[in-house]
Structures are given as structure tokens and as C-alpha cells.
């Protein structure tokens, strides 16, 4: 019975967990290890699932596991977290080649910038923007006031913008 529930949850949320871990850690290898760890925790804590919605519960475990992992890393490893986008094929026929390249560059820059955000803001950005969770859902999952969730997500995006803006400024001055 437990095993059937576990199997259902694994198949339903494996990609969400893996995506979160991927964008949080910045590498497929780390994402695989983190996903394994999260699935193990889900299996161990399956009895508590009836108390809250499955998605909130799963993403809360994922977020906590990733933050614990990040904090256990040595500072020099944290700084060198790689975030190479190898498997993002461009959308054919929509953009001109030049715009496509620009967009890919922007996306890569954003991804690198995400991996350098403070871990709490990073978590919120991933949950909202990549996992497409509603503010209310995040608030419930992380036990945070709704306004704090919104303000933190805006702050995270503002940090991304300031980072990109300073990069562009440096690039402009370098020419």
C-alpha cells in the first residue's frame, strides 16, 4: 500500500523535483544526487503526507533538502557552481539567428545569476517561475506569509536585474 502511494508520488513529481534540483544546484550530476535524496526522504516520511497537499509537501521537502545540501558545501565549491545550458535547443523559425543568439545569451546569464542568488530567494524564484507554483501555494508549502513570498520573489528578480544591468554596463564600457 505504502509502496503504491510512493510510486504514484514519484511518477507524478519526479520531474518537478529534478527541475528544482537542477536549477538550484546548477548541474545535472548534483541534481541527480539531490533528487535521490529527496525521494528517499519522501519514502521515509510518507505517513505524514495525509496532513497537507501532496505537491506542497513534496516541494517543501525538495526545497529543504537542497538548502541543506547547499549549506553543507564548502564556500569555494559554492562559488564555482557551474550552470552550463547544454540542452536548450533554440525555437526554430521564430527568431532571427542574431536575436536567437542574444536570447540564448540572456537566458544563460539569467541561469548563472539564479545560481548565485541567496539560497532562500533562489528557492522562491524556482518555485514560482520554473515550477509555476502560485503565491498561495508557496506560502502554504513554506509556511511563509503571502506578502513575504511576493516581496521576496520581487527582490530576487530585482537582484537578477541589477546583476544583468551591471554586466551590460561593464560590457558597454569595455567596448
Amino acid at each position: 500500500m505504502q509502496k503504491n502511494r510512493f510510486e504514484t508520488i514519484v511518477h507524478q513529481y519526479k520531474d518537478s523535483i529534478y527541475s528544482y534540483a537542477y536549477y538550484f544546484s546548477g548541474s545535472p550530476e548534483n541534481a541527480e544526487d539531490l533528487t535521490q535524496g529527496v525521494l528517499l526522504k519522501i519514502w521515509q516520511g510518507l505517513d505524514r503526507l495525509r496532513m497537507e497537499p501532496a505537491r506542497s509537501w513534496v516541494m517543501k521537502i525538495t526545497r529543504n533538502h537542497c538548502i541543506d545540501w547547499f549549506r553543507s558545501q564548502r564556500p569555494k565549491d559554492r562559488a564555482s557552481v557551474p550552470l552550463a545550458e547544454q540542452d536548450h535547443p533554440s525555437e526554430p523559425g521564430v527568431y532571427s539567428a542574431e536575436r536567437d543568439v542574444q536570447r540564448m545569451e540572456l537566458r544563460e546569464t539569467i541561469l548563472r545569476a539564479i545560481s548565485r542568488l541567496p539560497e532562500k530567494l533562489r528557492s522562491l524564484i524556482i518555485l514560482r517561475e520554473i515550477e509555476d507554483m502560485k503565491y498561495e501555494e508557496i506560502s502554504h508549502a513554506l509556511d511563509m506569509p503571502l506578502n513575504s513570498v511576493k516581496a521576496s520573489i520581487h527582490r530576487g528578480r530585482r537582484l537578477l536585474r541589477e546583476h544583468l544591468s551591471s554586466l551590460y554596463e561593464r560590457e558597454y564600457q569595455g567596448r
Binding site: Q36, L39, I153
Partner: protein, 190 residues
């Protein structure tokens, strides 16, 4: 580069503006500023670009071997005791079959009976409060006390018979009582 206060305020609110989370008044003020400030307009464009790009970041697909490893782990594990107990309890829903009801009731009654009887049959004896020496000493004191009462009674009887109580009679009585009393340390002093 230090921004003038107005621009800083706008910069802080750009993401909320892009998400439509500002009040109509605040949004209008921000738009008024954007209209005249090139730098803030560039920042607004960038905020929109970032919001757009974040929405299009692709979800990743979990490799099969990760899922298989997790499912194998679960298959090789026994369910936890809590899980098995929970499953058993959930199975005990009304209506039960008469035989199962009788069996369950018998088991419950047997457990309750055992829990009630066990404390009686296994009642621990209290440890002795006094040592053997203390008990023997107490017995001796009681014997002396009875002897004292007996002696006093005999003397009283004698006094009553004579009806004429004088100091000459009382003095030796007191002396006798004192000598009979094992707790009177004054002894024969009078």
C-alpha cells in the same frame, strides 16, 4: 553610481509593477516617472525581459535510472511499523463480520483484563522501614512502659486505701516512679 531618490524608489517597485501588484495610484506615478526617465525605462525593459525569460525556462526531465533506484529502494524496504499499524487500523472499519467482531472484542477484552490483573499479582512488597535492632529496642521500651504503668497503678491503689495522703507517703512514691522511668535521667535526685 548613486541614483536620485525617486529613481531608487522606482527601481524597488519595477518587479511588482510588471506583475501587476501595484495599486492603480502607485502604478500611475511609476509610469509618469518612466515617461521622463530613460534609465528607469531601460530597467523596466530589463525587468520585463527577465520575467519573460524566467517563464520560458524549460522543466527538466528526471533520468529514468534515478527513479528506478528510488523505487528499488522502496521495494527492498519493509513498510514502517507505523505504516503497518495505520493500515491495520484503517482496515478495521464498521461493519465487521460477526466472527471478526467477536474475535476482535475477545482480544481487546483479554488485553484489558491482563492490564488490570497484572498490577495486582505483581504488586511489589514495600521495603522494611526499620532495622531489626530498632524493632527489638522498641519492644523493650514497651515492656518497661507497661511495668511503669503497673507499678504506678499499685501505688495509687495503696494511697487510696489509706485515704490519708501525706508528704511522707508521696515522696517515696515519686522516688519510685522516677527510678522506674527509664527516660528520666535525673535518677534519684529529688
Amino acid at each position: 553610481m548613486t541614483l536620485p531618490p525617486r529613481c531608487e524608489e522606482v527601481h524597488e517597485r519595477l518587479e511588482a509593477y510588471v506583475d501587476g501588484d501595484l495599486s492603480p495610484e502607485s502604478a500611475q506615478k511609476l509610469e509618469d516617472h518612466i515617461f521622463v526617465c530613460d534609465e528607469c525605462r531601460e530597467h523596466l525593459d530589463l525587468a520585463r525581459q527577465i520575467a519573460g525569460e524566467l517563464k520560458t525556462l524549460p522543466a527538466k526531465t528526471c533520468p529514468d535510472h534515478v527513479v528506478e533506484a528510488a523505487l528499488q529502494h522502496a521495494a527492498g524496504s519493509r513498510d514502517s511499523f507505523a505504516a503497518r499499524a495505520g493500515a491495520w487500523l484503517r482496515g478495521l472499519r464498521y461493519p465487521l463480520s460477526p466472527r471478526l467482531s467477536f474475535g476482535t472484542a475477545a482480544v481487546i477484552l483479554a488485553v484489558i483484563g491482563l492490564l488490570t490483573i497484572l498490577p495486582v499479582t505483581h504488586k511489589k512488597k514495600d521495603p522494611p522501614r526499620y532495622s531489626r535492632e530498632e524493632v527489638v529496642h522498641a519492644q523493650q521500651v514497651i515492656v518497661v512502659a507497661f511495668g511503669y504503668v503497673d507499678h504506678a497503678t499499685a501505688l495509687s491503689q495503696e494511697i487510696i486505701e489509706k485515704e490519708n495522703v501525706s508528704a511522707k507517703i508521696l515522696k517515696p512514691i515519686r522516688k519510685g516512679l522516677r527510678s522506674a522511668n527509664p527516660f528520666d535521667k535525673k535518677g534519684d535526685k529529688s
